[in-house]
Symmetry: C2
Subunit: 352 residues, 2 copies
C-alpha cells in the first residue's frame, strides 16, 4: 500500500467493516448468493438467475438535500440512501440482490471522515441485511459534500412498471401518507417541541423509510402497474397515469394518514393550506402505489395481510375523457364532492 | 407534468436527447440488445445472457477533481466519466452492455444547467455508441458541484481479475504511460504554450481516455490477471501483486512513453525528480496491464496486433522472497541495474 493512499484505504476499510467485508475479502459473507467476487477488485462478478430479468436502478443521496448530518445521524443517512433504491426495486416487484455504493467524501479531519463513512455503512448494512441485498462494489472520491450514490440490482420473472394500468383498476396503497413530510417539518423546527408517539413515528419515517420490498414481490403477479412514492402521491400517480394512459380518481377519506398528519393538515388548513397538503404532495414516503385489476384486489389484499402488510384502496384508474386538455388528470373526491388539487403537486429534485 | 418539476424534466430531456431517448421512449434505440425497459421508469429491465457472469462497476467523476469545466468541455467530462467505468470492465475482460448515470446538478441559470448536462450526454453518447454500451437508467439531484456517477454492467464467460497472476508471468501493457499525467500538467499551465503534436495527444489522453475494451476481451482467455491503470503503474501493479501473491520486476527501458513524456521526465529529472515519475506514478491512463503466462505471450500479442492494438512486455511477476518485509515489492531495472522507486507511488483519490 502506498503511503499516499493510506487515508483512502483506511476509509474504505472502515466502510466495509459493518458489512463483514475488507479490501482483502475475496469470498463474500455467508449467504451472499450469486456473488463470485465482491469489493476489492475493479469489478464485481455476479451470477444472474436463469429465467429472471435483471432490474437496475440508481439514486443519489446528498448531504443537505436528502439527508442532513446537522440534524440526523450518518447511520440514518446510510439507511435512507439504500432505502431510496430498494423502494424502486420494490415498485418493479423485484427481489433485491446486490448493490454498489459510490461515496463522495469532503475534506475533513481524517478521524471524522472515517467515523462518518462507517456510520453510513452501519445504517446501510442494517437495511441490506434485512433486505437480503449484498454490497458488491463501490467507489470513493473527493467532493465538497458527502453524498451516497447507490445502484441496486434485483431480479424477477414478473416485473411491474408504471405502464400497464387499465381503467377500472383499483389504486392500492401500501404504507402511509404524509408522515415523512411531517417528520421533515418537525426535524427542521428550530425549537424542538416534545413529540408524541405519532410524531416520533413521523420523524422515523423521514429518517429511516422502510422500502415495501415484500409487498412489491407479492403484488408482482397480480397488479397491473406500480410506482413508489418518492415525489408525493399526486406527482407519482401522475407518472403512473401518463404511462398507463389513464386518469385517476382519489377518495380523500380513504387516504391512510396518522392522527399526527391529520392534525397538522387540519391546522395548516386553517391558515389556508390545502387540507390534504402533506398526504397528497409530501414526498419521500417510499410507500408503494399499485394499480390492481378489480378481480385481484381481494386476493392481493389477503396475501399482503397474511404477511402483516396493511393496504388501502384509495381510488381507481379511469378512462381519459376525449378532447380533454388534461388527459392524465387526477380528480379528488370528498365523498361525492370534487375538491381542487393543491397548487404544489410534488417535489422538484432540483428545487430543494 | 407538474410545473414545479419543469426544470428537472427539461434537464432530463436534454440529457437523454443525445442518446436518441426521451422520458417517453419505452422502447430502446435500435441495436440496444437485452433492454426491455430503459430510462423513464423507476427501474431498467434487462435480459442477462445465459452462461455469462454479470460484471458490475461504479465510478464517480466530480467537477474540480476528475474533470474541470473551467479547462475542458462538458463533452470531454461526459466521455471521461464513462471511460473510467468502461476501463474497469475492460480489466475484467467483459463486453460492455448497459450503464446507469446519476447526475448532480449545481444551482445555475436554467439554460446553463441544461446546456452542460446535454454536453455531458453528448460526450458520453459518443463513447457509449463506440463501445456498444446502452444507457438504461439514471437519476438527477441537486448538489453544490457537477458530478457524474456511472455504474457500468458488462458480461463475460471468462472474467479476469487482479488475482491469478503467477511468478514467471510476463507483464503486458496495452496503451501508453505518462501521457494523461502530462496532459494534466499542460492543461493546468497558466500560460498556454504552443503544443506539439505529441503534447496535443497527451492533452487528449487526459481529456478523452480510451478504455481498452477490445484488448481486455481478447486477453480474457489467455491472461492470468489484469488491472486497469487508473492510479499509476506502480500503485496498480502493486494491487495486482498483492492479490496474486507475487512480486514484480519492471524493465524501465521497455515502458512505452511518447517523446513528449520522455522529454518532460528528462527535464524534471534535472530538477531532482525521478526520471520515470510520470510513467510510473502518473495515473488516469486507463491503460490495461495484463499478467500473461509465458507460453501465451506471443499468441496474445499476435491476436492484439491483428486488431491494430499495440502491446509491450514491460516486466514480469516473480516469487516473493521468504521473510521479505515487502512481500509485494516492485523492483525497477535499468538494464541490470536496480533503480530506486519514486517517493510518490500513485494517486490518492482523497488527496487531489
Amino acid at each position: 500500500m502506498s503511503s499516499t493512499r493510506a487515508g483512502e484505504f483506511a476509509l474504505i476499510d472502515a466502510f466495509l467493516a459493518p458489512f463483514g467485508l475488507s479490501r482483502e475479502s475475496r469470498a463474500m459473507a455467508p449467504g451472499a448468493a450469486g456473488v463470485i467476487l465482491g469489493p476489492g477488485d475493479d469489478c464485481a462478478r455476479l451470477l444472474p438467475s436463469r429465467g429472471k430479468q435483471l432490474i437496475a436502478t440508481t439514486d443519489a443521496a446528498v448531504d443537505g438535500v436528502h439527508f442532513d448530518l446537522a440534524r440526523s445521524s450518518a447511520e440514518d443517512a446510510g439507511w435512507k440512501a439504500l432505502a431510496m433504491n430498494l423502494s424502486d426495486l420494490a415498485a418493479a416487484g423485484a427481489v433485491p440482490r446486490w448493490f454498489l455504493c459510490a461515496l463522495s467524501v469532503p475534506k475533513l479531519a481524517r478521524a471524522q471522515a472515517i467515523a462518518t463513512a462507517q456510520g453510513f455503512a452501519r445504517g446501510m448494512a442494517q437495511l441490506a441485511k434485512a433486505s437480503g441485498c449484498t454490497l458488491v462494489g463501490g467507489n470513493v472520491t473527493r467532493a465538497r459534500d458527502w453524498s451516497i450514490t447507490i445502484t441496486a440490482l434485483g431480479e424477477t420473472a414478473h416485473p411491474l412498471s408504471r405502464a400497464g394500468g387499465k381503467p377500472g383498476d383499483r389504486l392500492l396503497l401500501v404504507g402511509e401518507l404524509g408522515a415523512a413530510a411531517l417528520g421533515l417539518i418537525l426535524l427542521r423546527k428550530r425549537r424542538k417541541p416534545a413529540l408524541g408517539k405519532d410524531e416520533r413515528a413521523a420523524v422515523q419515517a423521514q429518517l429511516r423509510p422502510v422500502p415495501q420490498a415484500r409487498a412489491g414481490q407479492i403484488a408482482a403477479r397480480l397488479a397491473s402497474a406500480a410506482i413508489d412514492l418518492s415525489d408525493g402521491l399526486l406527482q407519482d400517480l401522475g407518472h403512473l397515469c401518463a404511462r398507463s394512459g389513464c386518469t385517476a380518481e382519489l377518495q380523500l377519506a380513504s387516504l391512510p394518514r396518522s392522527p399526527a398528519v391529520r392534525a397538522h393538515e387540519a391546522k395548516a388548513a386553517t391558515r389556508g393550506a390545502h387540507p390534504y397538503a402533506l398526504s397528497l404532495s409530501g414526498g419521500e414516503e417510499y410507500a408503494l402505489l399499485l394499480a390492481v385489476p378489480r378481480k385481484h384486489v381481494a386476493t392481493l389484499r389477503a396475501r399482503l395481510a397474511r404477511e402483516q402488510i396493511d393496504s388501502n384502496v384509495i381510488g381507481s384508474l379511469a378512462t381519459p375523457k376525449r378532447f380533454s386538455r388534461t388527459p392524465n388528470a387526477i380528480t379528488l373526491w370528498d365523498q361525492d364532492r370534487a375538491i381542487p388539487l393543491p397548487e404544489r403537486l410534488g417535489h422538484d429534485h432540483l428545487a430543494r
